[in-house]
Symmetry: C2
Subunit: 112 residues, 2 copies
DNA sequence: CCTGCCAATCGTATATCGACGATGCACGCT
DNA sequence: AGCGTGCATCGTCGATATACGATTGGCAGG
């Protein structure tokens, strides 16, 4: 097994999520995270990555009815929001969720 | 008590939240709700209404550093997303959260 | 009835989003 | 070394978001 297929990326990830204590900061953080998933395509991408059904960009492109460049843009937005991480794995790029960020988002939403 | 002050609006609200079963529909719904709170001002408004610290538009306008017309726009977006409800109370308008919609949002986020 | 006030709406300017095709860049392979 | 593949970035376009001041509309009070 020199090639562990498609799940060799980002295994343990962050240990825990940071939580802002300033209320205004929390509002801004929640708004930022919400904006990141405020599009059906990005929700679908997050779901795909959480379910581990694909981690490679090519798989995502095949799953969604959007152009490759568009997918790349959505991935960029998700990455900038800190919700996902991307690692270069040879000629491909492997994306996976940042569990801490997702947990933080859930916490902030629950605190509404 | 002919004038029960500022909390006479939308008391019992909806009994329960509807939950979409179609995955694509769920994605769209989550994206729509997320977009509604994808702005710090709207997050702040939701928090104000949840904490019942104000229900009248004038109170919200005084709390946030934004013009009255801008607040009104944000309220409109939140209302169109189904997250809040507005009732005319004499010359004023009373807004409050739609608990069912908030619960649905929390459920959808938790299901990520 | 006319005149307040409070909130919604209109009109506008600027910035960002969302989509695509075309191009650029880095990596493996032969 | 050269080539092909896979993803990111650029440039563009229309649509939408965000903010404000100005105006309109509805509801009590004089």
């Amino acid at each position: 097994m020199t090639k562990p297929s498609t799940q060799a990326c980002c295994p343990p990830a962050e240990p825990m999520p940071p939580v802002p204590r300033d209320p205004l900061e929390a509002d801004a953080q929640l708004a930022r995270l919400a904006k990141a998933i405020a599009h059906p395509a990005r929700v679908a991408i997050i779901r795909l990555l959480v379910r581990q059904e694909g981690c490679i960009v090519g798989d995502i492109v095949e799953e969604l009815p959007l152009a490759q460049s568009t997918i790349s843009q959505h991935l960029k937005q998700l990455k900038e929001a800190g919700l996902i991480r991307g690692e270069v794995d040879g000629p491909r790029v492997c994306y996976c969720v940042e569990p801490g960020a997702v947990a933080l988002f859930k916490t902030l939403v629950e605190a509404l």
